[in-house]
């Protein structure tokens, strides 16, 4: 690796104290707990933090609650992709001396929030979609999946979605923090009720309460801390539409840009990656994202995931935490796959530890397949 590819490292990751169904905690409390826990994981304290990145809150509201006064601040908000993109922004800020210890936090009471957060009705995507009942992501993403089925075959698409749901549940069964740990058979998948055809219930992510945080710092500082640095070797961001009905191609996400760009920056190729974490808002999101990232060609995803290849013991470890489908999903899940990738790279995952993980790729997706952030992480 060149020295420029080690401009900054992730040194701390954590969830909030409790995740899942947590009615006694606010969204901001999840931010604060996760921040505390991630700093502790890093061997740092709140006093070390001089950069703050988040989405879902305006930064001064969050900083006020946390009692922080950062000199670098970033509220890039592109749904669940935001937090993956924040990792890249933190690296850039640190490399340019804008801050030394960047804290990225997330928190949502996705299940227990006392007041739902409305979509801004002034936005075109709200004006033209919501009157038709295009409200909420299952409905939006399901229309993309139907188009994929039309282009590449309904039966093989359905089988691929089932493979992903079942394999992801197998990983969740190995994760004590996962909400859904009961076994799931292919029959369970096919028999689960329709949410929005072509999506069964078991095609859809959970709705939970949770928070997570990430600490990023300089190479010098990272090497002085107790845990091995996890280097951010490549990062990229892209978005090309807002609502699902203005998506240029329903079978290709912005990951077609961010995947190759992040891998290129890291100087590695798909075959070098030991662990892949893909924001699994829906089974279809995983299928289309594998193709967009370039792991396989358009329409080849069903063959790529066939035969439980992505399950524990398979040769392509994918979403080893149990993902948004079976572990946790508070709304903007994108920070959690970063947390899991860091733990896998450090070898901290116990029963669900994937073998020989030294390079990981994380892809976050936000909005209606609208935005992606991809990062490539590695250890020495």
């Amino acid at each position: 690796m060149t020295s420029t590819s080690k401009a900054a490292a992730i040194v701390g990751v954590a969830e909030s104290d409790e995740i899942g169904l947590v009615p006694h905690k606010s969204a901001l409390a999840h931010h604060a707990e996760a921040a505390h826990n991630a700093l502790e994981d890093a061997g740092l304290t709140r006093n070390d933090v001089d950069g703050l990145l988040t989405a879902g809150y305006v930064n001064y509201d969050l900083a006020d609650y946390l009692g922080l006064a950062p000199r670098y601040t970033d509220t890039t908000t592109v749904g669940g992709a935001s937090f993956v993109i924040h990792v890249g922004h933190a690296v850039n800020a640190i490399a340019n001396g804008l801050c030394e210890v960047a804290l990225i936090t997330h928190g949502q009471a996705g299940r227990s929030s006392r007041v739902p957060i409305p979509r801004d009705p002034n936005l075109p995507s709200a004006m033209y979609e919501m009157p038709y009942g295009m409200i909420g992501m299952p409905i939006n993403y399901s229309m993309a999946a139907t188009r994929y089925m039309h282009q590449y075959g309904e039966d093989r698409t359905r089988q691929a979605m089932a493979e992903i749901a079942v394999s992801t549940r197998k990983w969740a069964q190995l994760n004590p923090k996962a909400m859904m740990r009961d076994p799931m058979s292919f029959d369970d998948y096919h028999n689960s009720r329709w949410i929005a055809w072509p999506f069964h219930l078991l095609d859809c992510c959970l709705v939970t309460d949770a928070g997570a945080a990430i600490v990023v710092t300089t190479p010098e500082r990272a090497r002085s801390l107790p845990k091995p640095p996890v280097w951010v070797l490549g990062h990229a961001e892209h978005h090309d539409h807002a609502g699902i009905t203005t998506m240029p191609d329903l079978t290709s996400t912005p990951a077609r840009v961010t995947g190759p760009a992040a891998l290129g920056m890291a100087g590695v190729t798909h075959g070098d990656i030991d662990l892949t974490m893909i924001y699994d808002s829906f089974t279809y999101t995983v299928l289309v994202t594998l193709e967009s990232l370039g792991y396989c060609g358009p329409g080849e995803g069903p063959d790529f995931v066939a035969g439980q290849r992505t399950a524990p013991g398979g040769d392509f470890p994918l979403n080893t935490s149990g993902g948004g489908l079976s572990y946790t999903h508070p709304g903007m899940y994108g920070i959690f796959p970063v947390v899991e990738a860091v733990r896998q790279l450090r070898g901290e995952c116990g029963e669900r530890q994937a073998p020989d993980v030294s390079l990981a790729l994380v892809n976050g997706t936000g909005g209606a397949l609208s935005a992606t952030g991809t990062i490539v992480l590695g250890v020495d």
Binding site: P121, N122, P124, A126, M127, Y128, E129, M130, P131, Y132, G133, M134, I135, G136, P138, I139, S142, M143, A144, A145, T146, R147, H150, R193, W194, I195, A196, W197, P198, F199, G243, T245, T246, L250
Partner: protein, 139 residues
Amino acid sequence: MTTEAYRGPLPVKQPESDFYWEKAHEHELWLRRCNACEHAYFYPRDFCPDCGARDVSWIRASGKGTLHTFAIVHRAPVPAFSDRVPFVVAMVDLEEGGRIPTNLVDVEPDPAQIHIGMAVEVAFLDLTDEISLPVFRPA
């Protein structure tokens, strides 16, 4: 005049879309079209999202198009839709260009009865005294 209580979400009109909703109220579908690149587009704004030109017109659409994709909603996303499930959300590629969000109506909410690429035509649902919503049905 008694307003029939329509409980569903209504569009919050904006200056650049007032004309679109006025025409929809008259049961006409109008589109923006770029005079520079000759591309019709949805949703309406006063410049072309493809080439950036500000020389754009309103054109009346034929109301004919083809089904680009669809889904069948079984779980109502908000209570206002609970007496309508299952219903069909869809996108239609208009004859003139542009892709429009819509509902597919006058069809069984059954994937075996609905085919991507099928010919569809516009119809209008009067939601309130002010708002009529363009929907599509098999042509």
